[in-house]
């Protein structure tokens, strides 16, 4: 039987990130990917299409070439708003009346997000060992550092931080700027991929998560494939063995210790550590749920992961033209989020298993291909994701874009509709959720993905979570994987 130090299940960017981190420490690592390509959601540009909060150090390490792009929030009256980080103006170059207020709000949120970013760089704070143990003291020191970061904000700002962190995006945005495409853009960013509307408390946290690295939006040169490739290359450079078309059927457990995996074709590979990019429940099922206590299994089952984003890839016969945008502006991230109120309203139908009426969209135009993330679709609509339901979603989305890009419908030659069900099927993301598990306040930090398992480790010795369901969460950050590897090494498993 082949033997490695560690096996990583799933070659999504987090799996690869974990593998690279272990490989760099001289461990022999094998990455097993079910599908025929690496990268997970970032694999081929069919799903994720932009990068938000990848840290500078990570970019350098991966040698990634990312270019920051504008965001243009489309307005019905063609008074589109062009946004770049904290700067906002009308797309035609006129000054925006709320630019100053927006800049201030954005800067404040970015500053606050910076304080939280420290927490994302390491396993979440926790007090399993008790406050008085050595580990507990170390934790207090770490939290102290965050506290110090807060103190440095100054008293007034610290108070503001403690207020808005628990607040909802809708109020925090509209307290500063009037509702419209600018407010809508922020509100949409707060809830993209989330099972929440901007009025839901906790959405400021998810907005800050997005803004953790300064709040710019990046489009990778060479597309998301380049990001996936960079992660794969980093893993290979670290000596990892990355295998595709190798679906894992079960995790072998001996004496409550991870012993390796068995592939679907019956091949067994031995290892003393197994890291899983799948969600906690899927991972428990792979190992055999009998190895976990009832409470942990129940928590894993009730983890909130309702996918709410659908991906539509529109193949067009020619480049479309959007009203009021010049040639260069077509390369921006285009949003249909006319107001925060409409972003909230867009979420309503999803709650009842209905298709959206006026979905919030994020679009990237790539030549004659329009890549669209449609927010707030039901995880499973009433009657299921039938062909009719998919076709209806496609036509709803096209109808939503059409007023901004007249003639678009006629250009569409093919539509690929990827529903949450498809995303779950393609990537293994629990519930097809963009972030593998809802980024609500009840499922972040010490509570992510589930209370009692926040430190990546599960009850089976040597079995770890390394996917986006673990701390700090979704988006292409590489952090869940990296932190998981660090925790595994710190625990002395290898």
């Amino acid at each position: 039987m082949e033997r490695f130090d560690a096996i990583v299940i799933g070659a999504g960017h987090n799996g690869l990130s974990a593998a690279a981190a272990l490989g760099a420490r001289g461990k022999r690592v094998c990455v097993l990917e079910r599908s025929s390509q690496v990268g997970g959601m970032a694999a081929d540009g069919r799903l994720a299409h932009l990068v938000y909060n990848l840290s500078e150090s990570e970019k350098r390490r991966l040698g990634l070439n990312l270019s920051a792009i504008n965001t243009i929030s489309l307005a019905r009256d063609v008074a589109h708003v062009a946004i770049r980080g904290g700067a906002a103006e009308f797309a035609d170059g006129r000054a925006h009346p709320n630019a100053a207020a927006y800049a201030q709000l954005h800067a404040r949120l970015v500053r606050f997000a910076g304080v939280l970013a420290h927490l994302a760089e390491a396993p979440p704070p926790g007090f399993e060992g008790g406050l008085t143990s050595l580990e507990g003291l170390r934790e207090i020191a770490r939290l102290g550092k965050v506290g110090l970061g807060l103190k440095r904000l100054g008293k007034a700002e610290m108070r503001e931080f403690l207020r808005v962190i628990l607040s909802n995006a809708f109020d925090v945005i509209l307290d500063e700027i009037p509702d419209g495409p600018l407010a809508g853009a922020l509100a949409a960013d707060a809830v993209r991929g989330a099972w929440a509307g901007p009025r839901s408390p906790g959405t400021v946290f998810s907005l800050m998560y997005r803004l953790g690295q300064g709040g710019e939006v990046f489009r990778p040169v060479g597309g998301m494939t380049a990001v996936a490739a960079a992660y794969a290359e980093a893993a290979c450079r670290a000596g990892c063995d990355v295998r595709t078309d190798a679906p894992v059927a079960r995790v072998m457990v001996e004496n409550d210790r991870a012993a390796g995996v068995e592939l679907a074709d019956g091949t067994k590979i031995a290892a003393s550590a197994v890291l899983s990019s799948a969600g906690p429940l899927q991972t428990m099922l792979l190992a055999g749920v009998g190895h976990f206590d009832v409470e942990a299994a129940r928590r894993a089952r009730t983890m909130r992961a309702k996918g709410s984003a659908a991906k539509l890839n529109l193949t067009l016969s020619a480049r479309p033209a959007f009203n009021g945008l010049n040639e260069a502006q077509h390369a921006a991230r285009l949003l249909v989020a006319p107001s925060a109120a409409e972003v909230e309203r867009a979420f309503n139908p999803a709650k009842y298993g209905e298709l959206p009426k006026a979905p919030v969209l994020e679009m990237v135009l790539d030549g004659a291909r329009l890549s669209v993330i449609a927010g707030h679709v039901p995880t499973e609509p009433q009657g299921g994701w039938t062909k009719a339901a998919r076709d209806r979603l496609a036509s709803i989305v096209i109808d939503t874009i059409e007023p901004h890009a007249p003639g678009l419908a006629a250009l569409v030659t093919n539509v690929e509709v990827l529903t949450p069900a498809d995303i779950a099927e393609m990537t293994g993301a629990p519930g097809g959720h963009w972030h593998h598990a809802e980024m609500g306040l009840d499922q972040v930090l010490t509570l992510r993905p589930i209370a009692g398992n926040a430190r990546y480790r599960l009850a089976v010795h040597g079995l770890y979570l390394c996917g986006a369901s673990a701390h700090p969460g979704g988006d292409v950050t590489g952090l869940p994987g990296r932190n998981s590897a660090a925790q595994l090494l710190a625990d002395g498993v290898l």
């Binding site: 926790g126 628990l166 839901s200 408390p201 709650k351 609500g440 009840d442 010490t446």
Partner: protein
């Protein structure tokens, strides 16, 4: 001729919190004056007779949260306060069935099993969790909220108390507590129960009075806010104040009178008199002026500072924070005089649960949709109501054989939408009648003959509540109970200790920690803070 008297302390507003604060101050020897704009005292805790022979608890209607420490301190039973617990409650379905909530544990288990056998043990798990959370939170209610940004000894002590309590829970319980505080009541119930009807019955407490839906994070805490009270030590129990909720205010008023305090009704505060950052007294809308070194406002924080205080006496960032404070009207109230007990065909004859809280919302989805309507400025076509007939237990509420019914309606927006415009002014008589009709239609699901028995009905929209009681937007908690407005954030960060930027001026209402409900904790806490800061009887006071 206008009056000009001096006191040691003046309380603006004779709501239950204002009266509580006044009682504590008067018992500490201060000469206290309470001024009230209405001709009666009590604020939202009132009993009013609007139809001959009937007494309405016209705003708040049931009692549980009133802190027993305060009842004991002020010896309220001696002033006639009597709280009678009621047992049970029910949710009636459209197909003629019901789910009955019994306070008897075995009866409740049998009833749950009738609907969904899997939920029987789930209920025990649910109530254990809720009870544990109640036990955790209750000690904080009568303490000041710690300011985590402060290095002042008292704040550090309070913070230490919190950390100690949290540490005492153990890691597992602490995680559970953090999760509970941040999740939605819908998700919490979905985790435990299978039956939509049982979930809907239990979810009501998570939304009453708030501008949030059952699936909004934070509503599990709102549920807690409604469970953390007790009647005679039975945690989570609710009861009627004999004679209506005004009995609480009356007892407080009598207690105050005995302690030498003075109440003046019929003239409200026009302006808080502030000179050089220090409060001097109050000027009333009838021209009277009263002076005192300590002035405490029982009005909500917005009304106090945005309407009745000169803006140039306040720091700009404070005013800004007050403007941002969220007080959203989300509920209406119907008070009904009935000529007989209406029939509930689904219920067994003389069912004890009819003496409790009655509802007709049968799924979480129905409740969430009601919230969606509210967000758009409409009342729901299938509103959630919390309906009680207290006259079954308390004969003082209606003539013999006749009954008084109180119906709390969630969600009714303050800024009603009409022809594309959202405004409180849209609440005209037509809108009021349409709302009432809609509620009666829904009540008919439980008692089809309700309309035949109505002798008199009072419909109170959020606008009516605002106008009469003075609660901004008619919000019953004087401010949303969301995380960003609780503990050290209530009412505004940095000013959670009842003091305000104006020296000598305090907040004693529910805008302050720990928030709304007929709890009296903000009033008692504020009085303690006022006394701690050195308010004392002056020799020259009138």
């Amino acid at each position: 001729m206008a009056t000009h008297d001096s006191y040691d302390a003046i309380i603006a507003g004779a709501g239950h919190n204002g009266l509580t604060a006044a009682c504590y101050l008067a018992k500490a020897g201060l000469r206290v004056l309470v001024v009230e704009k209405n001709d009666w005292i009590g604020g939202a805790a009132v009993s009013r007779s609007l139809h001959d022979g009937w007494t309405y608890s016209s705003c708040s209607y049931v009692c549980s949260l009133l802190r027993r420490e305060i009842v004991r301190d002020l010896d309220l039973p001696r002033f006639g306060l009597q709280v009678i617990p009621y047992e049970g409650g029910a949710t009636f379905t459209a197909d003629g069935d019901y789910f009955a909530y019994h306070s008897d544990h075995d009866a409740l288990r049998r009833e749950i099993a009738r609907h969904e056998p899997r939920d029987v043990d789930a209920y025990d798990r649910f109530s254990r969790t809720v009870l544990r959370q109640c036990r955790f939170i209750r000690p904080f209610l009568l303490r000041n909220a710690p300011d985590p940004t402060s290095l002042n000894v008292r704040d550090l002590q309070e913070l230490l108390f919190l950390v100690k309590r949290a540490h005492g829970l153990g890691a597992r319980e602490l995680a559970e507590t953090m999760r509970f505080w941040t999740m939605s009541i819908g998700d919490f119930l979905d985790e435990h129960f299978h039956s939509p009807l049982i979930k809907a019955h239990l979810a009501g407490s998570g939304i009453i009075g708030t501008g949030l839906g059952v699936y909004s994070p934070g509503t599990a805490y709102v549920l807690l806010h409604h469970y953390m009270g007790d009647v005679d030590g039975a945690i989570g129990a609710w009861g009627f104040a004999r004679g209506g909720m005004g009995a609480i205010s009356k007892a407080l008023g009598d207690c105050l009178a005995e302690a030498g305090g003075v109440i003046r009704t019929g003239a409200g505060v026009d302006r808080f008199l502030v000179d050089d950052g220090r409060v001097k007294g109050v000027a009333l809308d009838n021209g009277d002026v009263f002076f005192a070194p300590v002035v405490a406002s029982n009005m909500d924080v917005k009304r106090t500072f945005l309407t009745h205080t000169d803006r140039d006496q306040l720091p700009a960032d404070f005013t800004r924070a007050v403007e941002r404070f969220k007080i959203r009207g989300s509920s209406a109230k119907l008070n009904i005089a009935l000529d007989a007990m209406p029939s509930f065909p689904a219920a067994p004859p003389d069912a004890a649960f009819l003496r409790g809280d009655l509802h007709a919302s049968t799924s979480l989805e129905e409740l969430e949709r009601a919230y969606d309507d509210w967000k758009e400025g409409h009342w729901s076509k299938t509103p959630y109501f919390d309906m009680l007939i207290p006259s079954q237990i308390d004969p003082t509420m209606a003539p013999p054989g006749k009954h008084m019914m109180t119906v709390f309606v969630q969600y009714a927006p303050y800024d009603l939408e009409k022809d594309g415009v959202r405004s409180g002014q849209n609440w005209d008589d037509a809108a009021r009648k349409a709302l009432a009709d809609c509620v009666f239609d829904k009540i008919e699901q439980a008692c089809p003959d309700i309309r035949q028995h109505i002798v008199h009905a009072e419909v109170r929209t959020p606008l009516d509540i605002e106008r009469e009681v003075g609660l901004t937007e008619g919000n019953i908690f004087q401010g949303e109970l969301t995380f960003d407005q609780l503990l050290f954030n209530r009412p505004v960060p940095g000013w959670a200790n009842y003091a305000t930027p104006i020296e000598g001026m305090y907040l004693v209402g529910s805008s302050a920690h720990p928030g709304g409900g007929v709890m009296a904790a903000p009033g008692a806490n504020a009085a303690r803070e006022i006394l701690r800061r050195g308010a004392r009887r002056s020799a020259k006071a009138a």
